[in-house]
Symmetry: C2
Subunit: 249 residues, 2 copies
């Protein structure tokens, strides 16, 4: 048997109970010291993204690290899209989901989101892969399940909880995407659109008078760490959720 990458990928989306069937790797071929496996590909891919950012993650780059040609990867991976999916799968698999505690559901849901954020930011730009990936992956569904459990334990109405998970995931993704984009813009170009706070304030002050509010509240607009904004928005979304009773914290 030993499935093609296509079959393997389809299995990852079939959402069945079949447990991945290690397929009893035949003998590793020939003179290679280390045979090429899906896991090895994903690991080196993570290394590249962590060191050089997501745009540097090309098939050729991965192949080069593995000391082979690009075509060799296609025996284990359907696509670059497939590789992306594997990446975010492994990333989601490392998220720790707490046992739902009705008295601490806010902290718990924020904790999961923060974990996601930190994982995404650790591999800058990888959120692009997350946006492109279909949401029917088992690993991503696992964290969705965890978040749903937390919200339900907190007494959030099921419909609101379901939609809120979507919104939260989407926001975390977008936040990290923007973050990594800004970072990327910093380190290459650097021709002056480094956006330090002082610089931003100066620019806002130089705006024409048709931007009165922006000029007046420039301080507020540029205030806070980026992570302050993250916490603020999370609070906004979580605190507004309709609950069906239960005591508040």
């Amino acid at each position: 048997m030993s499935p093609n990458p296509q079959q393997r990928r389809a299995a990852r989306h079939r959402l069945g109970t079949d447990q991945d069937a290690p397929a009893a790797r035949r003998g590793p071929s020939g003179g290679r010291k280390k045979p090429i496996t899906v896991d090895a590909i994903v690991s080196t891919a993570f290394g590249i993204v962590e060191r050089e950012g997501y745009p540097a993650l090309t098939m050729r780059r991965v192949a080069a690290v593995l000391e082979t040609g690009p075509s060799s990867l296609y025996a284990h991976v359907v696509n670059k899209e497939d590789l992306d999916e594997l990446l975010i799968g492994r990333l989601c698999a490392e998220i720790e989901l707490p046992e739902p505690d009705p008295t601490a559901w806010r902290q718990q849901i924020a904790g999961v989101c923060t974990q996601l954020r930190d994982q995404y930011l650790r591999y800058p730009g990888i959120t692009q892969a997350s946006f492109a990936a279909a949401p029917s992956n088992l690993d991503t569904l696992r964290v969705g399940e965890g978040m749903l459990a937390i919200l339900l334990a907190g007494g959030v109405q099921p419909q609101a909880a379901a939609w809120a998970i979507d919104s939260l995931s989407l926001y975390v993704n977008a936040y990290c995407l923007e973050h990594s984009m800004a970072r990327g813009r910093l380190q290459d170009g650097g021709e002056g659109w480094v956006l330090s706070r002082a610089e931003l304030l100066r620019r806002f002050a130089a705006l024409p008078d048709s931007y009165p509010q922006t000029k007046r509240y420039a301080a507020e607009l540029t205030a806070g760490t980026v992570h302050d904004r993250f916490d603020f928005t999370l609070g906004l979304m979580v605190d507004g959720l309709p609950r069906s009773g239960a005591a508040d914290t």
Copy 2:
């Protein structure tokens, strides 16, 4: 004088009051019926995105529509990134900003967000450009100014208003990006990850027992139009904003 594209782009970010200086186009060169202008480039780019989606927007494609070679574009546009910026600039310029009405600030802010959403969705995938673009564009700042004015008129605390604008813009972008990604996934592949609601329900039902909440609340998770979710999240973010008094609507 007649500025290079580089200078023109820098001017767009300088945020000064200088009014773009039409630069009195010298004679259009030679045998062309229609000379290539920045505006023509942007317009054809919009056409391509509207018809074929953002991934089809390549320099060569634009040049081909203009019946010329790719290199001709670089006399008017610094980069593809620059072209992207011009696109989202024009897109933002077409957003209508209402006169702030303290009694209708919720509807007004939702209206602006919905306008943005519909513009983005009209040109599928163009949000990618929006994420990549630097936020120091005059046109994008204009809608930021408008949103800020609405929120302040509604009595929202300045700091919260400032941060909320960021969050809202980010969410609208992310929503549209996800939407267009899903749309794109539909029309190419189509090998079965069409995610109709019935199909999703079937898949959730087939999940292993380690996903109890997802299985139980599959109906809620798949409920609602995509736009219902949009409205829900907007409400979540807007209703939670701290106000400094003023009567509620």
